[in-house]
Structures are given as structure tokens and as C-alpha cells.
Amino acid sequence: MSEFLLDIENLKTHFTVRMGNLLARQHGVLRAVDGVSLHMKKGEVLGLVGESGCGKSTLARTVVRLIPPTEGAVRFDGMDLTTLSPSLFRKLRPRMQMIFQDPYASLNPRRTVYDTLAEPMLAHAIHPRKTIPRIAGELMEKTGLSRRDVRKYPHEFSGGQRQRIAIARAIALQPSLILADEPVSALDVSVQAQILNLLRALQKEMGLTLMLISHDLAVVRYMSQRIAVMYFGKIVELGTTNDVFAHPLHPYTRALIRAVPVPDPPSERSTFFSPLKGDPPSPLNPPTGCPFHPRCPHATNECQQNAPILTEHFPHHTAACLHVNKIHTLPI
């Protein structure tokens, strides 16, 4: 029995895409997730950050087998999900749940909240049928909604309330693992704070293992104990929240931290500080060597040729950069 609840080992998810025009059709390989290893202890909150298109959502979806993996292993409680038969996987499935970004799209508009909450409980038959109405009411209250509203339809709720419903649905089966994919990015600031506090309270109370995917560093910092930074399908830095924010090792992490606009007006109004030039590279035409080198301010010739591997530079703090020794002493 492994000490980890979730054990992702060298996971790869590649997609075949068609390129070129009708006459000169080619097939390309898009490496959305390209060799990710991550281990999560029971009860841990891990924040996964990165720009859009870096593969963070694909990673989460591959873990719960919404997308089949190309290579690698995902062990949940010691069992490899990638090779598990569908019927055995179905038995495990209640223990891992997802919360999606858009509460307007992730709830069925034609079903009452009760139907939405009851469905997973009926499908997996984890509670006696008779107790479901009571449990649905409890779930509503647990997530800060009114028990009476259980017969309403999603359109009768605001965005924040819908996200509460999505959370209620996710915890209905008393899962051990929750993968939350940008759970607050569609919400307003004041509502975002409510949802984050709710997620954090539930995580503590139920001892949930939570993978929080977000592009918002402040959100991730508030919620997580450890942070994984993803770029171009790979983890480029992994460490405790404090280490990653206080001593970021990878130039990409440093750039992400610097790019967050600070809600404090500068005394002299100069310019915005944009630490990175250019856009992320095309995943169909990956750069040689380190995928970050075309945008990296510290890149050398070596970076164009050799791809760095994720190495532990400090205890429990790993990064994939050839120049960590040079960079980590620089001020952020």
C-alpha cells in the first residue's frame, strides 16, 4: 500500500491532429500532457498552475479517465486506473469527483437541483433510496444553500450558487479525491471568496485530497500546501507553496509571479511590467531543447539543445531548468 492516494507516473496524453490543407493532409501529434509525475498524499491540497493550453485540464481529465492516456500510470489508492477494467473502475469512480469551471455549462438546465444531486447517489447506490431526499437537503445546507431550493432549476440560481450546487454534487458520494478545474475563474471577486472559503472548509472537514487547477496564482496560494507549475505539458517546478512563492526556481514561475498585477497603485506610473515576450509556442511545432527557451530571459545556447529534466534542487523542491543555480539567487 502506497503512502499516496494519487500516484501519477510518467503520464502522457497525446492527440493526433490533422494539419495542412485538403490536398496535403498531414497528421501531427499534440503532446498535451507529456510525461507528468505527481504524487498526492491523502488530505493534501495541491495547486496546479499554468497558462491556458499548458495541459492542466487534460491532466485532470486523464486522471479520471475522461480522456484515455497514451502512456504511463495513474494509481489511485494503489490501483492502476489506466489498466483497470471498466466495471472495476466504476466501483472506484465515486471516490474521485470533478468540479468544472463553468457552472452554467456543467449543470443540466432541464433537471432540478434535486435530480442533479440524486443521480450520482442512485447510480452508485451508496445510500438507501429512501434516505436520498434527506441527504440532498443536507448537501444543500452543507454548501450554504437553502434546503427549500432543492426543487429549483439551475437558471434560478446565480453563478456562485450554481458553483455551490456543483460542489454539493461532487461531495454527494463522499469522495476521497476532488479535482477542481478552475472552480472560481468564472465568478466575481466577492463570490469567488465565498466559494474558496467553502471549498477550504469542506476539504478540512472531510479530509479531502484536492487538486486545484487554476491560472490565478493568488487563488492557488490561498488554497494549497504544494504547488506544481506546468508548462507545455510538463511539470517545470514543484514545491511547497511557501518555497515556490518565496524562492521560485524556474524562470517561468518567476515570470508568472511577476506578471500578477498588484492591487496597490505604484508611486510613479511607469509601465506595466511584462516579464515575458511572445506567446507560448505552438504545441504542434515544439521548440528544441527546453520548451521555455524562446521566451526565457536567461536562455543560453545550451537551453536550445538540451531539454532539462525535473531535478530536486532543494529538499522537496524540484525544477526543470539547466540554470537553477544561477537563477535562484536573483531577486524575483
Binding site: 490565478d216 496560494r221 512563492f245 500578477v260 498588484v262 497603485p265
Partner: protein
């Protein structure tokens, strides 16, 4: 002389479920070259205010009930369609939030960027093409001449937003309205785009209204700020005063509920409840039901924006009575 003065703007939507008071007595004014930030959550009336100025409110159900918006002496709210058409895209340009839906997917990038010149300045096609390539280069699109023949879907989000900026700036407008220009973008790209807008703004000496819900963006880009809630302006003032000495409980609550990179406190401050339903009428402060400092009379006394300090105004009755 101010470039734009808006007084008592009220835009209502007459729907089957009643009258939605989307913008209710909004007033502000701005000087040439100034940057004004408008912050507020969704539904606070930021975008409707901007659309009202440009005559882009769908009518029906929308109707401008009252107000004046003087732009260089001309009232935008009563101006004829032709006058508005000659101003929009020429002297007043707008950047929208989502560059994918704001660009025409069937038109080549070059043709879209050239269009304002062909419409407003009667340029020849060759001249327009040359200038479009120049502007696209200025906004950081490499190899602009060749890329002008591409379609929007061939560009990334950040690149599309650059195209929108190029389109907005090509006629050297006096006023740029940027409605959430970076909300759809990643932080690193957001920083690039904001820097670009500021740079171009300085070069052209144009005024800008930056509509956003991101307080960090406002702090970095604006000189003056309006804080909107439920269709009204609750506080307005210089950016320093708003951030360091906010005089409305809503502004304070908004700032406290943002998770920040420096703060590692255990629970986030939250504002209880939901924004009010704008189809219900209320007399007092719209924030009163959610405000932890509210007294009974807050919901009864009509609240109007008044100065607490020259240039810094609040609509909080208790602040104005010196109770807070």
C-alpha cells in the same frame, strides 16, 4: 476643458419581468489624455454605461431615460445616427473583452484593420494596407504584411487582442474605451497587452476608459477610478485615495475579498449575500443589505455621490455624516 462629461446617465431595460435599472444616475468627467478606471462586478452596469455612450444599446428593450454625455461639446446621447457613426471608430474607439467574438471570423485580419481607414478617412486601399501593416507592427505582430492575409482563427488569444488594439488605434482616436481588454488572457499575456496599450496611449496622447473587475489592473493603469455597484457609482476618486483610503464599505470589502500574493491569512474576507436584483426598486443604498456597517436608515435615505475631499466622492451616507 473636459474631453467627456457624463451627467445623470440612466439606462433602463424594459423587459417582460419589469424595468431593469442597469445604469442609474451615473456621472463622471475626464480630461484629454487621462486614464479612468471603472471597476465593479458583473451586472454593476460598467459595460452598459459604455454601450450607452456609443449608442450601442439594443432598443427595445433598452432605453436611455435621462442624461447628457458631452464629448468635445457634442451630446452623444442625442446625436444623430450619422454623427455617432462618424465618431465611432474614428474619434472614439472601443476594445471588447473577447477578441474571438469581436473579430469577424470570415474576414482577413488585414481587411478588418484597414476598414476604419477606408470608412472614415477615405484612404486608398494601398495606403490603408500600408498603414495597417505599420500599426500591426507597432502592436508587436511580427511579419505583419504576410499575416494580414490570415484569418482570426489562425491567431492566438493574445495576438487577436493585439489585432483589436491595432484596429482601435489606427485612426488615432481621442478616446479609447477598453471593456475588460485582458480578462480572456493569461497573466503573462495580460501584462504584455496592458503595457502595449499604455505605451500607445502615451505616444498618441489619447484618453482611455478602462473597464475591469480586476483591481490589480486598475491600480497599475489608471489615474482615476469609479467604483460601480448595482448600476450606480458608489465611490470615485484618484487611484491612490481609492486604494489607500477607500471611503465606501463596498470598495473596502471588494479589496479585502481578493486573495493576494502577499497575504497568507487563513480565511478570505467575504461579502455576504448576492448583488441586488435590479428590477426591484430601492430607495436607499443598494449595498446596504450586504453591508456590515449598515444602519436601518441606509436603506431609506436616497444615496448620492458627494465629495468628502476635493476629487474624492462617496455615496455612503454614514461616511458623509462622519459616522465611520
Amino acid at each position: 476643458m473636459p474631453l467627456l462629461t457624463v451627467k445623470n446617465l440612466r439606462t433602463y431595460f424594459h423587459t417582460r419581468n419589469g424595468i431593469v435599472r442597469a445604469v442609474d444616475k451615473v456621472s463622471f468627467s475626464m480630461e484629454p489624455g487621462e486614464t479612468l478606471g471603472i471597476v465593479g462586478e458583473s451586472g454593476s452596469g460598467k459595460s452598459v454605461t459604455m454601450y450607452s455612450l456609443l449608442g450601442l444599446i439594443p432598443s427595445p428593450p433598452g432605453r436611455i431615460e435621462e442624461g447628457v454625455a458631452l464629448f468635445d461639446g457634442e451630446d452623444l446621447l442625442t446625436a444623430s445616427k450619422n454623427t455617432l457613426r462618424s465618431l465611432r471608430g474614428k474619434r472614439i474607439a472601443m476594445i471588447f473583452q473577447d477578441p474571438m467574438t469581436a473579430l469577424n471570423p470570415y474576414m482577413r485580419i488585414g481587411a478588418q484593420v484597414m476598414e476604419p481607414l477606408l470608412v472614415h478617412e477615405g484612404c486608398s486601399r494601398n495606403e490603408a494596407r500600408r498603414r495597417a501593416a505599420e500599426v500591426l507592427t507597432q502592436v508587436g505582430i511580427q511579419d505583419a504584411a504576410a499575416r494580414m492575409d490570415r484569418y482570426p482563427h489562425e491567431f492566438s488569444g493574445g495576438m487577436r487582442q493585439r489585432v483589436m488594439i491595432a484596429m482601435a488605434l489606427i485612426t488615432h482616436p481621442d478616446l479609447l474605451i477598453a471593456d475588460e481588454p485582458t480578462t480572456a488572457l493569461d497573466v503573462t499575456v495580460q501584462a504584455q497587452v496592458l503595457e502595449l496599450i499604455r505605451e500607445r496611449q502615451r505616444d498618441l496622447g489619447m484618453a482611455m476608459i478602462l473597464v475591469t473587475h480586476n483591481l490589480g489592473v486598475v491600480a497599475g493603469a489608471c489615474k482615476h477610478v469609479l467604483v460601480m455597484y448595482a448600476g450606480r457609482v458608489l465611490e470615485s476618486g484618484p487611484v491612490h485615495d481609492i486604494f489607500h483610503d477607500p471611503r465606501h464599505p463596498y470598495t473596502r470589502a471588494l479589496m479585502q475579498s481578493m486573495p493576494s500574493l502577499s497575504d497568507t491569512s487563513d480565511t478570505l474576507f467575504t461579502i455576504p449575500g448576492q448583488p441586488p436584483d435590479l428590477s426591484a426598486s430601492f430607495t436607499g443604498c443598494p449595498f446596504a443589505p450586504r453591508c456590515h456597517l449598515a444602519k436601518d436608515y441606509c436603506s431609506d435615505i436616497p444615496c448620492t455621490l458627494e465629495e468628502v475631499w476635493p476629487g474624492h466622492a462617496t455615496a455612503c451616507v454614514r461616511t458623509l455624516r462622519n459616522e465611520l
